[in-house]
């Protein structure tokens, strides 16, 4: 299995790693039993994501997709961030091996989870805006309900 140069670059030098102490939204998806967890922190000002950081437990693709996803939403409006698809993350990374596609899904969901948390903190029901958050796109009895 081979990763593209871009995946290796984002894996070896991940962008936006860390935490935001006074984050406006924090989202976490995945579970340790499956082998990947992504946690995303966003800072929002006037509906614009002014800062984003992540922490990821997972394989090379999980780290690279987290890194790329944060790059793609930084400075964007919340609406634009919610439009980011896993496909767009994959394309930006010059593709992923088929078994790693679920990592890009996780990255997309991590952003949605962070935005969802942002709305919740402001007393807004996020489900109408963000939709349902999927945590895991495979089925092997790990209890992640997908």
């Amino acid at each position: 299995m081979a990763y593209s140069e871009k995946v290796m670059d984002h894996f070896a030098n991940p962008r936006n790693v860390g935490e935001i102490e006074d984050a406006d939204g924090i989202g976490e998806v995945g579970n340790a039993k499956c082998g990947d967890i992504m946690k995303m922190y966003i800072k929002v000002d006037n509906d614009v994501i002014t800062d984003v950081k992540f922490k990821t437990f997972g394989c090379g693709a999980a780290i690279a997709t987290s890194s790329m996803a944060t790059e793609l939403i930084k400075g964007k409006s919340i609406n634009d961030a919610l439009k980011l698809t896993n496909k767009a993350v994959m394309e930006a990374l010059d593709g992923l091996p088929p078994v790693k596609v679920h990592c890009s899904v996780l990255a997309e969901q991590a952003i949605k989870a962070a935005v969802s948390d942002y709305y919740k903190k402001r007393g807004v029901d996020p489900t109408l805006i963000v939709g349902e958050i999927k945590e895991c796109d495979h089925d092997h009895g790990c209890g992640c309900q997908l």
């Binding site: 976490e28 340790a32 039993k33 082998g35 967890i37 946690k39 437990f57 997972g58 780290i63 790990c142």
Partner: protein
């Protein structure tokens, strides 16, 4: 950047001396061993001399050695062959263990579909099966017991002689997959009551695609590969002459250097285990002493194995892991789960396996790199963050 190859349990580099021994049979002596002319009979002679060398290495008779395409074929033949042959006698039960190689486990799955009953022995947290548990599992209908000599992931060496004695006592045939053990531990099929034994060349600096199955005289497995009369009618197909010569050469060399290599690798292994064990929340998988001299398998909590491997690769170190991502499936290694590790910890495993070519400098370099990589990955891991928070909470 120098490359440090620490994945010798996956495969080994072909030894230049072995290649030299093989060369005539890849070039000038291309005859078919079944042919009558001189380059045919020369090839046949090479195959028979190789049979003697391989037999001597495990204290078998040359006529008890059958050349195959490698470990997987040998395992398939031994298990399917014996099971199907004994089914007619009302024996339809096979005992194996939960942490066998897939060549054994999936073969047993296939036999289950044919109506065989399969018992999987527990592997304890030390990576060993218990002889008394084997004895308790044997029934009147048991046809075969198949327990690996040494595990390919955690390197633990099973109490083969005791297991063999129990099988003999109960009149049950005993097969062992010795793919990892061959050349690394002394094997004596007579003393250890082994009826069938699988081996392969490429784990001991021989070529890929050639192995052998030892079948004790008097044991009659069904034929797996039908066709010509090669291997005394037991395994069809024109002999892989160069591969067979390579297997014998590799086996002979491994046996000659075993004592000295074991001493060196055991020392280097223990030094590295001691060093890596200083990493907090790390653990060695499998018994520390009853393991292959060149095997280390450890888990580091809060990180995932594939990321660990990729970072080590960037530093020039080739290793492997039992994480789901590296197994190509969604679950981590069945071996680590079999010894009782929870999924989340099994995802963070690292296997290092060494050979004669491994140097003290390699070990020191690995000892320096692994903690760096573990720290880097932990610094970006939400799982590690949680572990630390829980620690502080206490």
């Amino acid at each position: 950047m120098n490359r440090i190859y620490a994945d010798n349990a996956a495969t080994t580099a072909l030894s230049p001396e072995v290649l030299q021994d093989m060369m005539p049979y890849l070039t000038t002596v291309y005859g078919n061993p079944s042919s009558m002319y001189s380059i045919g009979s020369e090839a046949q002679k090479a195959v028979e001399l190789a049979r003697v060398d391989v037999a001597e290495a495990i204290n078998a008779l040359p006529r008890e050695i059958f050349f195959t395409s490698g470990g997987s074929e040998s395992d398939n033949w031994a298990i399917k062959g014996v099971a199907r042959a004994l089914k007619a006698k009302g024996k339809n039960h096979i005992i194996t263990s939960a942490f066998e190689h897939h060549a054994v486990l999936h073969t047993c799955d296939a036999l289950k579909k044919e109506g065989f009953e399969i018992t999987l022995l527990d592997v304890h947290s030390d990576g060993l099966v218990r002889p008394e548990e084997l004895e308790a599992a044997i029934k009147d209908t048991t046809a075969l017991v198949s327990i690996m000599y040494a595990n390919n992931e955690i390197g633990t060496i099973q109490p083969i002689e005791e297991l063999g004695a129990i099988c003999r006592k109960h009149g049950v045939l005993f097969h062992t997959d010795a793919v990892q053990a061959m050349g690394n531990v002394p094997i004596d099929v007579k003393k250890q009551n082994i009826d069938l034994l699988s081996m392969t060349a490429h784990k001991l600096h021989g070529p890929k695609g050639c192995g052998a199955l030892y079948i004790r005289q008097g044991v009659r497995p069904q034929i797996l590969i039908d066709g010509g009369a090669q291997e005394r009618g037991m395994r069809a197909g024109t002999e892989n002459v160069a591969g067979i010569v390579g297997l014998a050469s590799a086996v002979k060399r491994a046996k000659a250097t075993m004592e000295q290599r074991t001493e060196k690798l055991t020392r280097l292994r223990n030094k590295l285990i001691d060093s890596l064990s200083k990493i907090e929340r790390s653990r060695l998988n499998g018994d520390r002493e009853k393991r292959l001299p060149g095997n280390i398998n450890m888990c580091f909590e809060g990180i995932e194995g594939e990321a660990l491997l990729l970072r080590l690769d960037l530093m020039g170190i080739c290793a492997s892991s039992g994480s789901a991502c590296t197994s190509g499936s969604l679950d981590p290694s069945h071996v680590l789960l079999a010894i009782g590790l929870p999924h989340e910890i099994a995802h963070g495993s690292l296997r290092l396996s060494f050979s004669d070519e491994t140097t003290e400098e390699d070990i020191d370099y690995i000892a320096k790199c692994v903690p760096q990589v573990v720290n880097t990955l932990r610094s970006m891991s939400p799982v590690w963050e949680r572990i630390k928070q829980q620690e502080q909470g206490k």
